[in-house]
């Protein structure tokens, strides 16, 4: 698999994390021909990938997990030609926490105004931050020592902090999501965290609307309209217009409100993509039809996107970080399945093509335009 000049400004890079390594899929701005490079870290699972394009860097971060030897965060400044292999475990819990790192689930570059800042979400559920572009990491104490921690319960994927949503203007505000703990928000730079789950249901609890404990699968927003959030729940599809203070059901016309993946359109603040799954038991797309659903009116209605996607015998599952978008116009939308297929659309989701098949089971997909900001 050739690697030819990946990383030129304007190239589109789709980072694919799988159960057995990472792949770097790339194209020029036309997005017609794709190069597939990998696997990187063969045999290790990769649940977190990010391209940090700030501060003059073009740095790919990869959270890798060896089944035997644990998890580390690796970096590449040359689009995967070389990777760091940290001598020490670089994301680790303090000894007095009683916790040990299982896996890195999310890497999120900080705001554009703080180019040395990064965050990562891990299992067991915790948030780590770096103030030196990823050289060193420390847990955010306010969440690490949260009084609710003892009552958070692992979901099927483990007790993970998988979603980090930053207020682009207010450095004191950010939101995270935990399975199973729900949504938490800080308004004071991480010192204190309040649950923000009002209206989000927990089907698996006697009390369907607890203060916390929901199994939130993904939360997205458009940085141009940051207070409007969209949430894919373990049963439930929601929108908030007040930074998570309250949530409204928007499962209008979807075949199932169960699912994992959710992706914001990069430019249109009312357009969101999801991949509904049949149920929390079967966890495959309904009727074995591979359909991405899109709303263009903030959840008032959803439409299936099927052109170019298999509509028969598609026993597919897309996980919570398996759906992504680039920042081109029209937007590229990409998703990967547990069966190792990678699909892409270069027209806002109107039509799709299979980019790759036969990859290991896909855990995460992140896309970016080189020189155009972070991978989403």
């Amino acid at each position: 698999m050739a690697r030819k000049g990946v990383g030129s400004a304007g190239d589109v890079v789709v980072l694919v994390g799988t159960q057995k390594g990472a792949f770097i899929v790339s194209s020029d701005g036309e997005r017609k021909k794709w190069r597939i490079d990998g696997p990187h870290f063969p045999g290790e699972s990769v649940y977190a990938l990010a391209l940090d394009d700030r501060g003059g860097r073009h740095r790919i971060f990869a959270g890798t997990r060896s089944f035997h030897w644990g998890s580390v965060l690796r970096e590449s400044d040359d689009f995967g030609k070389t990777w760091t292999s940290p001598e020490r475990q670089n994301v680790k819990f303090p000894a007095d926490s009683g916790l040990s790192l299982v896996q890195i689930w999310q890497v999120t570059p900080g705001r554009a105004s703080e180019p040395e800042k990064l965050y990562c979400g891990v299992e067991p559920a915790a948030l780590f931050e770096s103030d030196d572009a990823g050289e060193t990491w420390a847990p955010v104490a306010g969440l690490l020592n949260h009084e609710h921690r003892a009552k958070w319960m692992p979901g099927g994927g483990g007790l993970c902090l998988h979603t980090i949503v930053l207020d682009p203007k207010n450095r004191d505000r950010m939101l995270v999501a935990i399975s199973t703990g729900g949504v938490y928000r800080t308004d004071d730079g991480g010192r204190n965290w309040q649950p923000r789950n009002s209206g989000v249901r927990a089907e698996f609890q006697p009390n369907k609307h607890p203060e916390f404990g929901q199994c939130v699968h993904k939360v997205v927003h458009n940085p141009a309209n940051p207070g409007r959030l969209f949430l894919q729940n373990h049963w439930g599809l929601y929108r908030s217009d007040d930074w998570g203070d309250s949530w409204t059901d928007i499962a209008n016309g979807v075949p199932s409100d169960f699912g994992f993946a959710m992706q914001m359109h990069p430019h249109d603040r009312d357009t969101v993509y999801i991949v509904p799954l049949e149920s929390d038991v079967f966890r495959c797309v309904p009727e074995a039809k591979m359909r991405v659903y899109r709303t263009r009116n903030a959840g008032a209605a959803w439409e299936p996107l099927t052109k170019g996607l298999p509509q028969k015998d598609a026993w597919e599952t897309v996980l919570r970080d398996g759906l992504t978008a680039d920042s081109m116009k029209p937007a590229g939308i990409y998703f990967g399945t547990r069966s190792g297929k990678l699909f892409g659309s270069v027209d806002d989701g109107e039509s799709w093509k299979e980019i790759a098949d036969g990859l290991p089971s896909i855990a995460c997909v992140k896309a970016a335009v080189v020189g155009g900001g972070e991978a989403r």
């Binding site: 030897w69 680790k92 916790l99």
Partner: protein, 93 residues
């Protein structure tokens, strides 16, 4: 008095390429031997132990071919002159 630690290929990069590490002192237990190993090669120990000081669940440490899990765990005795072998467990996905 010495103990020899034999490293699997996956960990040798964290010990400057060495397959064998000789610890030139008395180590009463597996824990002491691993602590001594960490003084020389801390990156190796990060991969063998969690940050809570537990042996990772899919790593086995043998003392003269006996799995330490069945002879006392980290407290298992290490006779002088022993060979400690670190191996990935027969597991994976």
């Amino acid at each position: 008095m010495s103990v020899t630690v034999e490293l699997p290929g996956a960990l040798q990069a964290h010990a400057s390429g060495s397959a064998l590490v000789v610890i030139e002192r008395r180590c009463a237990s597996v824990a002491e031997a691993l602590d001594a190993l960490a003084e020389q090669w801390p990156g190796v120990l990060d991969r063998v132990m969690t940050e809570q000081g537990d042996l990772r669940p899919h790593v086995n440490v043998f003392v003269d071919e006996q799995n330490s899990r069945f002879i006392g765990g980290l407290d298992a005795p290490v006779p002088d002159g022993s060979t400690i072998l670190i191996l990935p467990a027969v597991s994976g996905g």
